[in-house]
Symmetry: C2
């Protein structure tokens, strides 16, 4: 039996703030970054995971991952649901480390990175892409991966088992469908705040030509600008392409309602992150006021307890799971089960560094083994930084192709790690930073 | 004008897990710790602050504080509300660092430690204890310290100003009252889970003899044990002393209601942390089911947005502010204003390392300048680790004495810092850890 013999953690940063890619109302100059973890083994493949950040503080995130090494180094390589559940329980259950969250922020993202690296390892050893590896588990095994603590008033273990068993018939057909057709994507590329109107129009036209059925625009800087940009986008793509908007937490509750009321004539499909990701009741008030415009959130929703409440309160109608914000595959399975219980579509947050690579596995696993449904589901697509990954996400005709390489796709090229290591990689030493 | 010329951050840990002091249902073996920050200046006193943790991960917390140095080093020593507001806004507003929270967990506690150290510095330079320094500011100055983002649906700046103006008359008399009588305390010392029944009875008797009007017991390990221990405590202290219980997040919603229903015959005053601190709706359901038993929470409530919702939803009837969990004095002022708006008493969480030292200032400031009221308010008291502080909290006759030394009281003795530094202090190198 192989053993994890070492954990390596790297601070990797891309100088994206030099362009305006990624600019929005709350994040004017992100340097997309990853606290990158490698689980080295004494036989067979290594495992790769990451936490995504946007620059300063990525070293703190890396330190948090390193702090988990005693739980991992010396451990048998996990190969099945039992071992992957045990690891997650041990990490989340460290009573001293737990104080730093609990189950939120830097400490929780560190757990997520390690748990995801362990899943990568297990899937590589099984010779399967993560989505197929997870979908090869029985409903009983899948339920054993989930921490139901704090969920039972909304979702019991028995209910979860029922959901998973109901999705057992048809797994094979849905896998075949994904392999043939992929999974629906939408494009955020046209909509960054820093782009000119001409660039917005050009990229929106391109998105439609490329087969995307939805695009997304960043809003929240200036309401007159947003009205002009959304009107332009709507005129460019016509009435049948969905246009979502994303405020990146810019507003208070009343401001969100007022601002979106001005944008409503241009038929926005959803408003994403209208306010603080912590404000369950605020999201519920906004959702009620703005219906039928949908409310979407998730990239900053810290854990399953917050998603539970957002669902209970009617605070979201689109759940934007994030691969690297919560406690890894295990907690994302809990979140997929909650969404299935409440009948809310999951449309993952992606972009960033490696998020497209990771979330495609989660959506495809959901379609095969959890919700069994892809109606109104779509995965964010930003065509950015994929060249740094050994198993990059690929979108064709507006759809994510099903990944086929073993693992969870977080591995970066060695050349990338050397070049973009912060602060000592040549990308940072050879050119002035900021 | 003096300048902050350096920031020093120390990982300080006390081996409290060798005894069972501090043991509860979720934290069986804490090593009470502080990520301790010193702001060095080129003239006049230095400033001291800390984040409290319970052991593993304290190094991560220290790294997060260090990451804030570029915002602080080289800055003019803050002396007034304007400068203290500017610092808080700059730290919370760092758009890259914000991704690590936002405004929660390790990153946010780091901001709190630095902001509190800056307040310590300002109060020392003013020659006043923090509570008096803050209470010397005008309502307009106090309001300028607060970040109202995400609060306006529950508390506007104008409402906050109204609350502060209403408390202006009588400030002098209330200061005099605090200096004469101190501020009510309650004792957690009898109630740790690891203590025997005999020790519980002995310490409960002692608490009453010492003048405390309330004691608190940890619960949530075993229901039969809890019934026996609460019955014993009630028999020991009689009907007129309040007995609160604290589950430290042990339960799901339905379990909390069922468990507390078994304890109800012994008249518990409040149930503290019945479930996840993130579960606003869960707290509301528990509060509704258990009334008139009060629901208390706060030590793990991550920021003002969560407190806002707990108040909006009726999820707490006692607000347990924590000096070192949120973004420092500025955010705690927002939380005091929210509590005043909703008419909920603030009973701070203390114990830990330095929390008693810090929170007494916040409660006294609240009494003088915010709520103007001390009805049903009481500050937790744990007689533990105070000897390490240069301006230790002192309780006499069940009341916190008003501190008189300039500053915010987070400073530790140099000998303590040398001895308990982790991992290289003699406390850790000379005796086996764990």
């Amino acid at each position: 039996m192989a053993t994890i013999v070492g954990m390596e953690v790297l601070d990797v940063r891309f100088p994206t703030s030099r362009e305006l890619d990624g600019s929005d109302a709350m994040n004017p100059d992100p340097d997309y970054s990853a606290a990158y973890v490698v689980l080295h083994t004494d036989g067979g493949p290594d495992g790769y995971g990451l936490a995504f950040t946007i620059g300063r503080g990525n070293d703190v995130q890396a330190a948090a991952i390193r702090a988990l090494a005693p739980h991992v180094v010396g451990r048998a390589v996990p190969e099945d649901a039992q071992a992957l559940g045990d690891l997650s329980r041990e990490l989340v259950g460290d009573s001293q480390f737990r104080w730093l969250g609990p189950e939120k922020g830097v400490a929780h993202m560190a757990i997520g990175a390690v748990v995801n690296a362990a899943w990568d390892l297990a899937a590589r050893r099984a010779g399967l892409p993560l989505w197929k590896f997870a979908a090869s588990m029985t409903p009983e095994e899948l339920v054993s991966l989930v921490d139901f603590r704090y969920l039972s008033d909304a979702l019991t273990e028995a209910e979860a088992l029922g959901i998973l068993r109901a999705a057992e018939p048809g797994r094979v057909e849905r896998i075949a469908k994904l392999e043939a057709e992929g999974y629906r994507a939408y494009s955020t590329s046209p909509g960054w705040l820093g782009y000119s109107d001409a660039k917005l129009v050009r990229l929106a036209e391109q998105a439609v030509a490329d087969g995307f059925e939805m695009i997304k625009l960043k809003v929240g800087g200036d309401v007159a600008d947003d009205v002009r940009r959304l009107k332009l986008a709507r005129e460019t793509v016509g009435p049948d392409i969905r246009v979502a908007v994303d405020a990146n937490q810019r507003w208070d509750v009343e401001a969100a309602i007022a601002w979106m009321t001005e944008l409503a004539p241009f038929d926005p499909y959803w408003i994403e992150e209208p306010t603080s990701p912590d404000d369950v009741l605020g999201h519920a008030a906004i959702a009620k006021a703005l219906a039928p415009i949908k409310v979407a959130t998730g990239e900053h929703v810290q854990n399953r307890v917050m998603f539970k409440q957002l669902l209970q309160a009617g605070g979201l109608s689109v759940l934007q799971l994030d691969a690297a914000r919560v406690g890894g595959v295990n907690e994302n399975l809990a979140i997929l089960l909650l969404a299935a219980k409440f009948g809310v579509p999951v449309c993952p947050h992606a972009g960033g560094v490696g998020l497209c690579e990771l979330v495609r596995h989660l959506s495809m696993f959901d379609f095969v083994a959890v919700s069994g449904d892809d109606t109104d589901r779509t995965i964010e697509w930003v065509d950015h930084l994929h060249e740094h990954f050994t198993d990059p996400a690929v979108v064709r005709g507006g759809r994510y192709l099903a990944p086929t390489a073993p693992g969870f796709s977080a591995r970066m090229h060695d050349a990338t790690l050397r070049r973009f290591r912060f602060p000592d990689g040549p990308e940072w030493t050879e050119t002035p930073s900021e």
